[in-house]
Symmetry: D2
Subunit: 464 residues, 4 copies
C-alpha cells in the first residue's frame, strides 16, 4: 500500500470526525444504556449483547464467547494487513450506584455503578471502529479493523484470558482510551497487579463456653494483615498493597471457622510483583502457623504493567491536539461547578478540561489488563475529559459525571482520536514498523509471556 499524501490523510480524518458526529446520538444512546445496565464483571450480558448487535448490524463478523468468557467477543471488519484493534470495556463497579447529580444520591440502593466510565469506553471505542469500517468499506482505507469486547476489567482481568487465548496474536497495533478528568495522550505505564483470596480455616467453638477449644480463622486474617502492613516498610516505594476482608466470621458467639481476605499487590514491574506476592504468601502461611489454622489461596487476577510506546503515543497525541479539549455550555458549567465543590482536594482547576496535557511520559499507579496486551502487541491509548477536572475514578462523582452530557463530549472526542490514529496506521506501514521496533527493545530479548494469574480459569462468578 502506498502512503497517502498529507492532504488525502487529512481528508480521511475530517470524514472520520464527521461520521462520528453524525452518529453521536446513537453512540450516546449505547453509553447510556450500558450506564443504566451497570453490569458487574463477567455479568455484562446485556452490555455485551448490545455491542455485539450493533457490530453485527454494521456488518462486522462477531466471534462470541471467546477465551471461555461468555461476554467476551471480537468483532472484525475488512481483511488483510495491517490489523488494528480497538478495545472496549463495559463492566461496572459494585456499591457505587449513583444518579446524575452533584449530590451523593444512590440510584439503586447498594447497587453497582459505572465509576470507571466503562460505559463511555465501550461506546466511544465502538464509534471509532465503526467509522473506520466505513472507510474500509468505501475503499479509502484498507486492512482490518477489530473491535475487542473485553469484559471484567475491574478485578476480572478479562483481557488477560483473551491474551492467554492468543486472540491478539495477529494484531499489529492495539488502541484503547479511558475517561478521565483531563485530555492526555502521553505515554503512560501502569502498575502490574496480582490479586488473590487467602482463605483460612480454623476450629469453631462457642466463643463464650469454650473459646480455648477454638482456633479463629479471623485471627489468622488479622495476623496476615498485621504482617502485610509491616511489610509495607520493606517494599519498593512504588508498591501498592491493599486488601479487604471478604469474610470476617459468622456470628460473635462462634469462634470463626472460616475467614477470607482479598489482596492486591502492585508495582511498576511485573517481575517485582511476582516477588512481592511470594512474600505476601509467606505472611499468610505464617499467620496460619501462628494461629494454628490452615490456609489456601486462590489467585484471582493478575495483569502486567502497561509497556508504553512513545512512537504510537506521538501519533495519538497529534490527533488529540487536532480534536482538542472539552468545552462546557452554561448548564454543564453549572453542573461541573456544583460537582467540583464536592471534590476532596482536586488537583486540577475547572476549565482545564479545555486543554490537552503536554506530552510527558509518566508512570501511573493503577493497573489495567491492557498491560498484558501491551506486552503482546504494540499498544497505545489516551484519556479525554469525560469527568470534571480534578475528580477521581471510582468515586460517586465519577459515576455522576459519567452519565452526563459532559462525559458524552469527552467520549466523542476519544472516538475521533482513535479513529484518526487507526487511519494513520492503516495508511502508513512505516509507523507500525517504528512502533514495533521500539516495542521489541522495551520488552527485552528474552521476554516470554507467563500471565501473572497463571493457569486459572476466568473467575466468571467473582462478582456474584
Amino acid at each position: 500500500m502506498s502512503v497517502l499524501s498529507t492532504s488525502q490523510a487529512d481528508n480521511i480524518k475530517d470524514t472520520l470526525q464527521t461520521a462520528i458526529d453524525r452518529d453521536a446520538n446513537e453512540t450516546i444512546e449505547i453509553s447510556q444504556r450500558i450506564w443504566d445496565y451497570a453490569e458487574l464483571g463477567y455479568q455484562e450480558f446485556k452490555s455485551s449483547e448490545l455491542l455485539q448487535q450493533n457490530a453485527q448490524m454494521a456488518g462486522f463478523s462477531v466471534k462470541s464467547g471467546v477465551a471461555d468468557i461468555p461476554t467476551a467477543f471480537v468483532a472484525s471488519y475488512g481483511s488483510g494487513s495491517p490489523v488494528i484493534g480497538i478495545m472496549g470495556e463495559f463492566d461496572a463497579l459494585p456499591g457505587l450506584s449513583q444518579t446524575v447529580t452533584h449530590e451523593r444520591e444512590e440510584h439503586v440502593e447498594g447497587g453497582a455503578g459505572h465509576a470507571c466510565g466503562h460505559n463511555l469506553f465501550a461506546a466511544g471505542s465502538w464509534a471509532a471502529a465503526k467509522a473506520i469500517k466505513e472507510q474500509i468499506e468505501g475503499g479509502t482505507l484498507s486492512g482490518t479493523i477489530r473491535f475487542y469486547g473485553t469484559p471484567a476489567e475491574e478485578g476480572g482481568a478479562g483481557k488477560v484470558y483473551m491474551a492467554r487465548a492468543g486472540l491478539f496474536e495477529d494484531v499489529d497495533v492495539m488502541l484503547h482510551w479511558h475517561p478521565a478528568g483531563f485530555n492526555d495522550a502521553s505515554p503512560r505505564s501502569t502498575n502490574a497487579n496480582k490479586g488473590a483470596k487467602f482463605r483460612f480455616h480454623g476450629i469453631p467453638a462457642h466463643a463464650a463456653l469454650s473459646p480455648e477449644k477454638g482456633r479463629s480463622a479471623l485471627d489468622a486474617v488479622e495476623a496476615m494483615n498485621f504482617m502485610a502492613n509491616l511489610m509495607r516498610e520493606h517494599v519498593p516505594e512504588a508498591t501498592r498493597i491493599h486488601y479487604v476482608i471478604t469474610n470476617g466470621g459468622e456470628a460473635p458467639n462462634v469462634v470463626p471457622e472460616f475467614a477470607e481476605v482479598f489482596y492486591y499487590i502492585r508495582h511498576p514491574d511485573f517481575q517485582t510483583v511476582r516477588e512481592l506476592f511470594d512474600r505476601l504468601v509467606l505472611t499468610a502461611e505464617a499467620a496460619a502457623m501462628g494461629t494454628e489454622t490452615t490456609m489456601e489461596y486462590e489467585v484471582i487476577n493478575g495483569s502486567y504493567n502497561i509497556l508504553p510506546n512513545e512512537a504510537l503515543s506521538r501519533i495519538t497525541y497529534n490527533n488529540l491536539i487536532k480534536v482538542g479539549g472539552v468545552s462546557y455550555n452554561a448548564e454543564e458549567q453549572k453542573f461541573a461547578e456544583n460537582l467540583y465543590a464536592t471534590l476532596y482536594k482536586p488537583n486540577k482547576p475547572l476549565g482545564s478540561q479545555e486543554n490537552v496535557e503536554p506530552f510527558i511520559p509518566s508512570a501511573g499507579r493503577a493497573s489495567s489488563d491492557v498491560g498484558d496486551v501491551s506486552w503482546l502487541v504494540p499498544t497505545t491509548g489516551l484519556t479525554t475529559a469525560c469527568l470534571i477536572p480534578g475528580s477521581y475514578l471510582h468515586t460517586w462523582q465519577a459515576v455522576a459525571a459519567g452519565g452526563s452530557s459532559i462525559a458524552h463530549k469527552g467520549m466523542l472526542n476519544a472516538a475521533k482520536v482513535l479513529a484518526m490514529t487507526a487511519a494513520d496506521l492503516l495508511q502508513d506501514p512505516t509507523l507500525i514498523a517504528a512502533a514495533r521496533e521500539e516495542w521489541e527493545a522495551s520488552r527485552g530479548e528474552d521476554f516470554e509471556y507467563y500471565p501473572l494469574l497463571g493457569e486459572r480459569e476466568p473467575p466468571l462468578d467473582y462478582r456474584k
Copy 2:
C-alpha cells in the same frame, strides 16, 4: 390451697408423665417441624405460628406480638395464683445447616440450623405446659400455667424486651430447660452479655492511584480489634470478648469507606459488663481517632447473668432424679458412637447420658436472655441429654443430634421434669415463698432493673 399429701402429689406426677408419653408423637412432630423451618431470630414466623396454633387448640388464651415483637407470644391457661411460666425458644443459628447424620453434611447450603436445640426447647416446654393445663382443667391442680413464646434468644435477646415490657411482672416462678449432652438441674449462673456493632466511616480513594487521599474504615476496625485484644490481658479472667468483622470493605482497589465489627462482652456480673463495655467503646473511639475516621455504634443485645435459685433447683433436681437419664437403643447407640468419634476432645464419655449429674452449683460462661427474667422472677431450669455426651452446642454435631430420636428422648424427659416441678409449685405455696426469699437476698436490696441494651427497639431485622 392446701398442700396435698405425698401420695396425691405422686399420683399427679405419674399422670403428668403418662400424658407426656401419650402426646410424644405430637411433641416430636412439633420439634421436627421447627427443626425443618430452622428460622433465624425474629424471623420465626412459622415456628411461632405452629406453637400458637397448638396452644389455641389446647384451649390456652394467646396474646400475640407482645413487646412489639411479631413472633413473641404468651399463652395462658387457668386463673389466679400461683402463676407458673414456662419459656419456649425456637430460633435457629445461621450457617449451621446440617442433616441428621454423623458426617458433616449441609442440609441447605449456607443455611440456618438448630445448633442450639431450640426446636426441642419449644416443643418440650409446650408439652409440659399442656400436661399441666390438663390437670388444672381436671381440677387436680389450681392456679395459672403460662407458656411464653420467647423469640430470638441467639443474639436477639427476645426475653429482655419481654421483660422490659413487664410481661413477667405477675409471675411467681419461671421455668425453662435447655438441650445438652447431659442431665443436670444444678443451680447454674450464666454470663451477662452486651453486644454492639461498631461502624466506622473513612474517606474512600482509589487504593492504587491515591491511597494517601484515603482513610480506611477497615484500618479502624483492625485498630479497634488490636486494642481490644490487648485489653484481654487487663480484664477479669472470667471475661469473654469476641467479635466478627461484619463488613470488611467492598473491593481491594478502593480504600474502604465503611467497615463494621460486631462485638460481645461477657462476664458473670452485669455491672462488670457495663464497665468493660465502656472500655471497649474507648478502643473504638481511639481507633477512629488514630485512623482519622469516624465511628458510631449500635447496641445490639444485652442480657443479665442468670441469678440461680437453689431452692427451686432442688425441687427440679428431685424431679429429674425421678425421671432419670436417656437410654439408647442399638441404632441410637451406633449413631452416637459415630458422631462421638467426630468430637474434638469430648469431656464426657458415651454412656454418661444415662445418669443425672450431681447437684453442684456452678457458673456457666454462655449467656442467655433468661438472665433478665431471673432478676425479675425467681427462675430455674434444667438440661437433659438431647445431644451426644461430650458434644457442644453451636456445632454441626449439635444440629445433627438435635433432629434425632436421641434428642426426642431427652426432650420428653425435660417436659416431664418441668411439668412435675410446676405441679410441686402449684401444690405447695411454701416452696414459692422459700424461693422468693432466697431470690430477694440474691438480688440485693437496692436492685433496680435497667436492661443492658437500654431503650433500643427490638432489632427485628438483625438476622436479615
Copy 3:
C-alpha cells in the same frame, strides 16, 4: 520418738515465741540490712553472706554455693530424722527503689527494691530456724533443722536448680512463708510458670535510604506479640501471658537487625504450661517466617505450681491462730493510713491486719519456685500482714512498708508460726505421715519430675 503431751508441746511453743521475741532486734537488723542491700537475683552476695555468717555463728553447718549457684546455701543443725527445712529468699526487684514513706520517692534512682518483702522472708525464716536449733541443742526437740538460702526467686527460679540438684531429697517437710497484707495459712496453690527470651535476627538497612532491603527484627517481635495477644482468647481462662520487649532496636534510622521479647506463660497446671508454651513458640516461629527474619529462644525460668497440703496447712493454721495478727501503734496507724490512701482500689480494709483469714483452700495466680519443691517434698507456708492491708506486692507501697516497723511485727509473727509448726512436726511423726499420704495422692502415681526449665544452667547473669 514418743509424742509429747499437749502441755509439753505448749511449753516448747511458748519457749520458741519467747526466743524469737528475745532476738527480735537482731532479726530486724538482718532484714533491714538486706532491705538496704536490695540485691537482684543471683547477685545477692552480701545478703547471702550475711545469712550464712549468722548461721555459722549459731553453730549451723553451712554448705555454700550449692547447685552451682554462688549465693545458694544450706545451713543444717542437728541430726537424724525427721528433717524439717525452712526456706529463706532474699532477692530484690529492679526499678522499685523506694524510701520508707507514704509518698512515692525513690531511694536510689532507677535502683532495685524489696517490693516482694524477701528481706523479711529471709530474716523471719532464719529466726525460726535459729529458735528450733536452740531446742534441739537443749534436747527438747530432736531431728534436723535446715535453713535453705534460696536465691533469685523473682524470675531466677533459684529453688528449681536446687531441686534439680537433689538438695531436698532427704527432707520430710519444707516450710516457707511470705509477707503479705493479711495473715493466712490456708492451703494455696500457685500458677506454674515458664519464661523465655525470644530473639529475632533481621537484615539491617538504612531505614530511609533502602528500607526495602531491610527485614526488621522488631517487626518480628511485634508480629509475635500480635499473635500471642490473639492467643489470649484461645487459652484456658486462668492462663497468664505477659511480656516485655527487652530490645526494640538501636536507632530509628536503622532497620533493626536484632530485637528481643521476654515472655512468661502461667497456668495452675504445669502440664498446661508446657502445652501453652509450645503454642507460644509457634507464634514466634510464625513471626519469623512472616517477617523473613530468624528466631531462636532461650528458656529463662520455669517453675511448677505449688501442690498445697491441707494436713500441713491445718497445723500451720492452728499455730497462726495462736500467734494472731498484727496490731499497729499510733505512729504505725498514721503511716498505714497515709499509705492506704495511695492504694488503687484496695481489697481489704485497714484493721484487717489484726485478724487471721479463715481456713479456705484457694488458687493463687502468681508463681513461685517453691512450686518445684512442693512436688518433691510435702510443703506448706503462710503469710503474715507485713504490708498495709489491701496493698499488692511488686509496688512501691510494698517496698515502703517492707522497711517499716509494721513489717517487722509481721515478720516476727511468721517466725513464730514457722518455729511452732516445725516443733509440731519434730514431735509427732504421725503428722508427717499424714502429710506424706495426702501429698502422694495429690501428685499422682506416675509423677516424674522434669523441670519446666529443662537442662539449662542457672542464669547467673539474668539481672546484670
Copy 4:
C-alpha cells in the same frame, strides 16, 4: 575583586591540590584518630578538640561552644567578602563498632563506630579549609574561609541549632561533602525529617496476680505502632516512617508502667513532614486513649530537606571531573573484593569507583541537618568513593572501609574538590550571584524559617 584569568585560576587549583597531597599524612592521621575515638553525637569532645587545635595551630580564630553546644565551633580565617563556609561532621553511630577487615568483627563490644564516615568528612573538609587559608595568607585569594565544626549529625541535628542561632547568616556559600561508594557532584535533595520520642505511662500491676488492675504502657506503644503501620498506606509514597522501641517494659511479671518509642518521619518536602508528624501524634494520642494510658512526646530532631543548587553543583562537578575517581592498588583491590563479596545485592560494580557519576539531579531519601543550612545559605556538596562501590552507609562494611587507605584516597579527593570550588567562588563574584538567584527562586518568596524541631534545646545527652 577582579576575576582572574583561567590560567591563573588553574594555577591556584594546582597549588591547592599540591598542598592537600603534601598534608595527606596529617589529614589521614586526623581522620584515623576520630575513627578511633568513635564518639557519639554531642559527646565528640575529643574529636572536636582535635579539630579545633589544628585550626588554632593553623592560625584560624576559633569560636567554641557555639549555639549552646559544647562540641560545636566555627573556625575562621581571612576577612571580608565573600564568606565561604565548609562543614565538618565528626560523630559516630552506636552499636557499629568494627575493625578494618572484610569480616564482621567488633572492635569494641557493643561500641560505637563511624558507619557514616564522619571521621573522613571532618578531616577532608578541614584539609580543604586549610589549603584555602594558605592562599588567602599568601594573597592569591581574598575573602573569608570558615570551617564549621558541626556535631551530632546522626539524629542530633547539630546544624539546625547552629542555623537557629544565626551562625550562617553572613555566609555567601556553604560547602560540604560526604563519603560514599561513588564520586558524584550532581544536585541532590534529601528528605526532611522529624523525630520524636513518644512516652506512655500506664498503671503498674503484678502481671500474674492482678493484670486486670494494670494498664500497660507497652500496649500503648504497640497500639501506636499498629496505627502508624496502617498509616503507611495512606501517606505519599516517598514518605519514610521508622521507629524503635526504646523502652519496652521492665520485667515480664509487672504490667509496664512506662514505655517509649522513638519515631522518625521523612518526606522530600518539609511541609509534608509537618503534616505527617501531626497525623503520627494522633496515633499516639489514640493509642493512649484506647489503652487507658497517658502520653507525652518530645521532639528530638528535625531537619529540612536539602535545597539543591544547580549552579553551585555545576562548579563542583567540574572540579570533581578534574580530580577524578579513586584507583586501588593491588592490596586495596584485594580488600575491596573481599568486602564486596559480603554485600547484599550491591548496586554498583567494583571498578566504578574510578569514574565520576554523570550530572543528574536526583532526590535522596536520607536526611541531613545540612537541609536547614541550605534554606538559609546557597549550599552544595559532593560525594567521593571512600567506601567500596555498592556498599551502604550505616553498615559494618562502611565502618570497615572507612578506616582503610581506600577511604583516605576518597577523602583527599573530596578535600581537593572542596578547595577548588571555594577558590572558584572566592575568585568570581558572578558565580555566587547566580547561585543566589537560583536559590531565592527555589525557596519561594514567602519562605520563613521555622525549624522543624521548634524551640527545644540541643539534646546534649541523647546518646548518653
